[in-house]
Symmetry: C2
Subunit: 612 residues, 2 copies
């Protein structure tokens, strides 16, 4: 195994191979990807579906003179393997070297760092426009999955492509699957196109004025080469719709071939959600993470109310599984669960409509995906006072791809008026908040789902905050901060998943300075509890805020500004405003001075400075 | 005139009228809208096109039991007139009473407050889902213009409507015009549908799995009633494509009928941009506002470079005119100007593609419209370091519709890493910044176009800041704050269009306290000039920030947090985090304590407090 692949250092090496050898190469890559994803984890199914298309594209076109832009770009493993980066897939020592997405830092064959859907066509249009403005002749190719086509930006790009004209090739990689099942009327059209060999008259691409070709055997290199040759150097935008098979190569056979039996079972071939993401070896025997744990907890609590509340609706824009919205829940939920496809803008507008009509929608997705609905959160949800609850998953300072950082969500949400933004510090409080938001609140609420620190304290049986909160303590529930420990001189305000850190810091401070600080759980970050802040001012000279998110424009800065005219001094801890690509959490916390020793030191210094 | 109209207090009164009388009613409303818009200003053309459709909808359906959701909702004047709100159109004394958009605060016939495009279908889907969950039978109708259809959220909604099924009526009001000309492949399909009486096989609605009907005479009440009756109580989603005429009724004839000859000429009937917005009497002889003035200035500066720079491209998502991107400029610019339609997400992705290929894109639109591209600004532009320049128009505390507030843009932009955010304080500095951003910078830059205060000082020949800035003073241009007046004890940092306010405040403080404050022009709001802030700390005990935008999560809070651990106290002035609908600027400034007397008092109090 691997003999042919060893000779491929760039796409040039591919171009001299016979068709038979290209097929062998595809087989080698398939085995490589299966073993890589089993060991390291990865987007297995989509990459298995795109091996032959990517081989054929590199065979026919001349990258990087021609440009190949992958939408979302998690399906580009074969592209990386063919463009001089195969070592990361063959050598377990190097498996962490590459991003799971395209990255210009890695290779001149990658034009963009992408991890959100739908923009490949717009980017390609831009590159094509600049090519035409400067008299270039490169082919510009956008490679986009059927699951991405439901997103607004993809449509906007298709619509514009037809207007712009000129060379532009849009490869629609149709594996009949989004992250979970596809949703939307468009998919009926794609199915009809597949069933008719591309001849069905209801063609969404032609209806936008685009030329169109269909390739039924989207995993047959020969057919793909022929199709791509036909459109190479086209003078107008053309869609090449290729029918591929997600997870192609996965079967009992391939399971037996690879790895010891103790490895987690590989999913089956074909359009199954389970093969969207393959967990790696390191996830073996690991407990469910905070996303899955608290997500399942929330779904369970909501499900109990389904029989009595016809309008209680969980909406997930295409990414249910990683947030604990499991297939069996979805099955049982019926119309109480709606996967609207990758269409976050629609998810919020849809939720606002349900709320207006008296229903109770809960939109659940990852922190950065909510960015795609900023305008709808601001207008349809907040301005209209719509009783929509957002569950924000995957937040906080962590090792993530730059496209999926969890540090920016609080800054984004708290900037928008009329959103009640909550940061629970225990599972029980999370459910209390969810019950309030989906019950008496009837207003826009954002809940930041607790993260790993909170989960760890709960699993260790040492939760920091009391098990239940007191939602009646203020004009609104969670209006008032909660004093967990009354001390003096220094007050530590530790928000949400930063509370365990605040707790450890309190211990450390007491040990090192003899001073017992006050520890406060603010559990709300859209506005301040001025009453508590005023009270703290009378007995404390330093107020410290800690938040598991971006410092600039964050909640801690609001606290500092509130104390601005007063004599109380403040110190704010949080993440820098910067992009990070797969930087380990420990490195980041060190860099941000968010370790207990660093914070202890900073506070001690501030106290000495004050005394001097 | 007005006899029939006088009898219409609710849609019930309409239902007893004969066809002939309905036609007369339409005529009366047409005359009323022309005179209203001429006097008060308004979205004249689109409202003239929708008189008959709205009459027919209210005749056939039973609002508010049935629900009629207007996309953008600026075309709903007739709806307001028919639902008990005609007085605002007939009585000049009441002409300010109503929003130019739908508003649930005004009437139970309005479900949402909307002013951005594309979400009506998603909202309608949500209301329909809740109806079906609770066994209701109401018709849910989304009324959306052809110009809105290019927006991603509209597509996402159409796609989902087909999947959801059940009663849903989508009226596509096709007046052959967006705000300016329509752009995108979709419009060729709409044109082909119009030309074929709805029979062209390339049907973008059918291609999404939706049922479809066409009405050629979209301003003929009889035809509309027939079409709407056919779809009333439908059991599945259906698109009713109606062909209307923008500005119907405008002609020399109607001009002669109405008003004195000194009024500005009315535009002609048909798809002309000029009739999108009709200026009112109060704009007569008024000088161009800051948007138009500085927008034209920017276009002029860029145009001079077009011959040498093939990739220098101005991109406007459908709203050129109000930002000084005039038709004659667009004509001359050729492909240096691109109107991508109402498709902000695409505008940014497209710009990032142009930049990647070496071009120099400038995206120009209003503050709140950039919200629709938040994710693309964060990912495709900022994360990818794309050399895209954003010109943010229509900013600051002002009397605006709640959907178009200019107070949130700085908070949004400064929360995103890697954006250089500039707030020029003169026309010359604005052009300097634009030249830098589109020249040597080759990085993502956001420029907040100067507003009315700056323009007023320039027109009065009394600009506050020096005419030219010194872009070489720091590591990056505008890295360093500019000291305009060196004083002591109090430093006033007045950002962008707040600088004239800061200048007046400095004078007032000196008059009232004898103390000459330091006056600083920060002209950058994404990060702090820590060197200058440190220097100020040594000679000042109070640092005051003034920004013409939202205080919470804003630049002033970052300054306060920077001084948090130090002995310097801070006071921050800016807008509250709240929604405001057409509240006069003076009222808002009063409420925010942003008048010179209020700020003088607050600073004096803080100084006394300090001394005590």
């Amino acid at each position: 195994m691997g003999k042919l692949l060893d000779s491929i250092d760039s796409p040039q090496d591919l171009k001299i191979l016979s068709l038979e050898k290209l097929d062998r190469l595809a087989d080698e890559i398939r085995q490589l990807l299966i073993s890589f994803c089993r060991r390291h984890g990865g987007h297995l199914g989509s990459n298995l579906a795109t091996i032959e298309p990517i081989i054929a594209l590199h065979y026919v076109f001349d990258m990087p003179h021609d440009h190949l832009i992958f939408d979302v770009s998690h399906q580009a493993y074969t592209h990386k393997i063919l463009t001089g980066r195969r070592r990361a897939y063959t050598d377990p020592e190097s498996q962490e070297d590459l991003s799971g997405f395209t990255s210009p830092k890695e290779s001149p064959y990658d034009d963009f760092m992408l991890g959100h859907t739908g923009t490949s066509i717009g980017l390609a249009c831009g590159m094509a426009a600049q090519r035409d403005a400067t008299g270039g002749r490169a082919n510009i190719i956008a490679f986009i999955g059927d699951g991405s086509l439901s997103s607004g930006p993809a449509f906007e790009g298709l619509d514009w492509a037809a207007e712009q004209g000129g060379n532009l090739i849009i490869v629609v990689n149709d594996n009949e699957m989004s992250i979970a099942e596809n949703h939307g009327g468009l998919y009926k059209s794609l199915a009809a196109l597949r069933a008719s060999g591309g001849r069905n008259p209801n063609n969404p691409f032609r209806a936008l004025g685009l030329d169109y070709r269909y390739v039924e055997e989207g995993n047959r290199i020969e057919d793909l080469i022929e199709a791509f040759r036909q459109v190479k150097d086209t003078d107008h935008p053309v869609v090449v719709h290729i029918h591929t098979r997600k997870g192609l190569g996965l079967s009992q056979g391939s399971q037996r071939q690879i790895g010891p039996t103790s490895l987690p079972d590989l999913p089956a071939e074909g359009p199954v959600e389970a093969n969207h993401w393959q967990d790696g070896l390191d996830s073996l025997n690991r407990l469910p993470n905070s996303r899955k744990t608290y997500g399942r907890m929330a779904m369970q609590a909501l499900e109990a109310r389904f029989p009595q509340e016809p309008g209680l609706t969980v909406i997930s824009p295409a990414t249910p599984l990683s947030n604990g919205i499991d297939p069996d829940f979805r099955q049982r939920a019926g119309n109480h669960y709606r996967d609207v496809g990758i269409a976050e803008s629609h998810a919020i507008a849809y939720a606002a409509g349900i709320a207006k009509a008296g229903g109770t929608p809960v939109v659940a997705t990852s922190a950065t995906f909510f960015q795609r609905a900023y305008d709808q959160i601001e207008q349809e949800m907040a301005l209209n006072g719509s009783a929509v609850t957002l569950l924000v998953f995957s937040t906080g300072v962590a090792k993530t791809d730059a496209t999926h950082s969890g540090t920016a969500d609080m800054v984004m949400m708290r900037g928008i008026p009329a959103l009640t933004c909550l940061a629970p510090t225990s599972g029980v409080e999370f459910l209390d908040m969810l019950a309030w938001a989906t019950g008496p609140a009837r207003q826009p609420v954002v809940i930041r789902v607790p993260g790993e620190r909170t989960l760890a304290t709960e699993r260790a049986g040492k939760p920091i905050a009391p098990a239940t909160s007191d939602p009646t303590s203020g004009g609104q529930p969670w209006d008032r901060y909660r004093i967990l420990q009354q001390g003096r001189t220094v007050a530590l305000l530790a928000l949400g998943d930063a509370l365990p850190l605040g707790h450890d810091l309190a211990d450390s401070l007491e040990r090192s300075t003899g001073l017992k600080p006050t520890l406060v759980d603010p559990h709300r970050y859209d506005r301040l509890d001025k009453q508590t802040l005023d009270a703290l001012a009378s007995t404390h000279s330093l107020v410290v805020t800690i938040e598991d998110g971006q410092l600039d424009s964050g909640w801690g800065q609001a606290v500092a500004a509130y104390y601005g005219p007063a004599r109380v001094r403040t110190l704010s801890f949080g993440a820098a405003k910067e992009f990070n690509d797969r930087v380990p959490q420990a490195t980041l916390l060190e860099r941000y001075g968010m370790t207990v020793p660093a914070m202890t030191q900073a506070i001690s210094d501030a106290l000495v400075d004050r005394a001097s």
